[in-house]
């Protein structure tokens, strides 16, 4: 019989960055620039509603990135990220509703609050592994709506009725509406934070974080302060998801305890896996999946929407066990293998 659960997250299919298939630098830059250009144009050529949906995709992508930093890159399993999302959202709502703070200041505030909460939670989490950590984070996710409903805090949180958040107004000199402005604002925040995450992962700290995931004992033996890195990662992860929650509050213009249940945590986890654990761009694909697939399932059958969603999920997992990013990696590897000359072989080990 097995005893302590093995650190399976370590080999969760996340590929170390150095061996990751990457396009040549200039091609990669072109692709990213192209994607950003396309993203900038979207609200100008689609309806308000689609703009709103894409804003939500970006927000979920950012939330999933938070989870990815903790689980994908650092190997700490979390079912509790709905709590951080909710705390971020409520920070924004409370600051705007009760204290008339401008919306753009609430974003860093939400990030800061969540960083502290995440860091504090990361401390006791140091002692817990895998399933035990899952339970602890599960407890956090369950506690959050209960605390939000708690009558003693009702004056701040609005209790079960929730709080209305005013949608930000676009700056008067721009001829765009509220939805479009919120989209650009969210896009800007997302780009900054994705860039920050990418540079974190490629830095020495990032390698330390991943080393802890792959082999914590070896990492400690090499002198990495695992406790510090693990708690910091928890904090940063919470920060990312908290900022996503804050943006979510602005987009939906409403917060209530029922918006931040354990089901949200599970959705984020699903999005993480579908997008590709350990892949930063994969998070956006995960966000896309989490937003649109339930709608698709619902359109096929309202009574069996959940069953259809489950079946779609299974099919996707069977076909792409390592998520979309893993699939892309595999496909690109096959493609480049078939293009390489068979006899001379891979000179210089080009990917």
């Amino acid at each position: 019989m097995t005893t302590v659960p093995k650190d399976d997250i370590a080999v969760a299919g996340a590929v170390p960055v150095q061996r990751e298939l990457r396009l040549r630098p200039s091609l990669r830059h072109v692709v990213i620039a192209g994607a950003i250009a396309a993203a900038l144009v979207i609200p100008l050529v689609t309806s308000s509603f689609v703009t709103f949906q894409v804003t939500e995709v970006i927000i979920y992508g950012l939330a999933i990135l938070g989870l990815n930093l903790l689980t994908g890159f650092n190997g700490q399993f979390s079912l509790g990220h709905s709590a951080f999302y909710g705390i971020g959202a409520y920070t924004t709502a409370i600051l705007m509703h009760n204290y008339d703070v401008a919306y753009y200041w609430t974003i860093p505030a939400a990030g800061g609050v969540c960083f502290v909460v995440g860091f504090l939670f990361g401390l006791p989490a140091l002692r817990l592994q895998n399933l035990y950590l899952a339970l602890a984070t599960f407890a956090l996710a369950n506690a959050t709506p209960q605390i939000l409903k708690f009558h003693a805090l009702e004056n701040w949180t609005g209790g079960v009725q929730g709080l209305v958040v005013d949608q930000p107004d676009p700056p008067s000199f721009l001829p765009i509406d509220g939805d479009q402005w919120l989209y650009y604002f969210t896009l800007a925040v997302m780009l900054v934070m994705f860039a920050a995450a990418t540079s974190l992962i490629h830095s020495r700290s990032g390698r330390a974080i991943m080393a802890i995931r792959d082999n914590p004992i070896a990492a400690a033996a090499m002198g990495i302060n695992t406790s510090l890195y693990k708690t910091l990662t928890f904090g940063v992860s919470a920060l990312y998801t908290g900022v996503a929650g804050a943006l979510g509050a602005l987009a939906v213009a409403f917060v209530a305890p029922d918006s931040f249940t354990i089901f949200l945590s599970i959705s984020l986890l699903v999005g993480l896996v579908i997008g590709g654990v350990g892949s930063i761009p994969g998070c956006l694909f995960g966000g896309l999946f989490v937003l649109y697939v339930p709608n698709i399932a619902n359109s096929l059958s309202s009574g069996l929407a959940g069953a259809i969603y489950g079946v779609i999920l299974l099919l996707v997992i069977f076909v792409m066990p390592a998520g979309a990013a893993g699939f892309v990696r595999l496909a690109a590897a096959r493609l480049s293998r078939s293009q390489q000359a068979p006899i001379t072989g891979a000179q210089g080990g080009k990917p």
Partner: protein, 292 residues
């Protein structure tokens, strides 16, 4: 004092539910080395099958036995069809597969049998036990069956070759294969047993909580908490953990002033986390020393 006693007994009664579920949780954990999120839904679905069989006229014990067999087969099927394709996949992908199973079972049950609650019969009756009001015959029966199941499992794992083979297959599949154990079959057997235990748990729980598609949501959470508290490596620990969770939760709800009532679940989970911090493998789990 009487209130304390009553709440402890009520906690034991609730705890019997959690202990039952915790057993199924630990069972599947022994077989596949991690938690199956859909365990509760499988139990719920099995219970609905039993209900349907009885609605079609079969007597209780026939329906009971049939359901246990059907659940066993279904468990093996799920292993083959759902688990096998993702076995080599990363653990997170497996978890997502379980989430998908959860969704499918929950939604299908709601569509087939509706969401109105249904009463489920119990062979033990609902008479108060010992004349008093502390515990009734069904709750006592539930505790009895849970302990009996626990005993049977213990005998199976410790006393039979098959049980030994299962433990070997789960602990070290590669070595187990080398000594001739059919690891694939062992996993399937584990799934089947877990599904059957879950079915029994469901059929014991339904008379208390009423049968409906969402009946296992909370139970699984508490069962999970109980299993983790007791230590995922120890079936006996899981049972003790389940009972503990029931008692803790009841006492927290009744006696902790001001916050107790509304934050009952939170308190229970916080206490469990605190226990885990001091004993990271659970109360009765064994921690293993790994070679680096």
């Amino acid at each position: 004092m009487e209130l304390l006693l009553q709440q402890v007994m009520a906690g034991l009664a609730n705890g019997a539910i959690y202990a039952c579920m915790a057993l199924a949780v630990v069972m599947i954990y022994q077989a596949i080395d991690h938690l199956n999120f859909a365990q509760g839904e499988m139990a719920m679905f099995s219970t609905f099958i039993a209900w349907q069989l009885m609605a079609w006229g079969l007597p209780y014990w026939v329906a009971f036995a049939l359901t246990v067999v059907i659940s066993f087969v279904a468990g093996v099927l799920i292993d083959r069809v759902l688990f096998r394709p993702v076995q080599k996949a990363p653990i997170l992908s497996q978890i997502v597969a379980f989430i998908a199973l959860f969704s499918i079972l929950n939604s299908s049950a709601g569509e087939i049998w509706d969401f109105t609650i249904k009463s489920f019969p119990t062979p033990f009756g609902h008479q108060p036990l010992f004349g008093g009001t502390l515990i009734d015959t069904h709750e006592a029966g539930m505790i009895g069956v849970t302990l009996a199941l626990l005993g049977l499992l213990y005998l199976f794992f410790r006393g039979t070759r098959l049980g030994l083979a299962m433990r070997a297959a789960a602990a070290n599949p590669a070595s187990a294969r080398l000594v001739g154990i059919r690891v694939g079959w062992m996993t399937a057997l584990g799934w089947g047993m877990a599904a059957s235990i879950g079915a029994v748990a469901g059929m014991l729980i339904a008379p208390v909580v009423f049968l409906e598609p969402n009946m296992m949501l909370g139970v699984l959470l508490y069962g999970f908490a109980g299993a983790v508290l007791g230590g995922l490596t120890s079936p006996a620990g899981a049972v003790v953990g389940g009972f503990s969770v029931g008692i803790i939760e009841n006492l927290a709800g009744t006696f902790v002033p001001y916050v107790g009532r509304e934050l009952k679940l939170t308190l229970a989970l916080v206490l469990i986390v605190i226990v885990l911090m001091f004993r990271p493998s659970g109360m009765f789990g064994r921690s293993v020393v790994n070679r680096v």
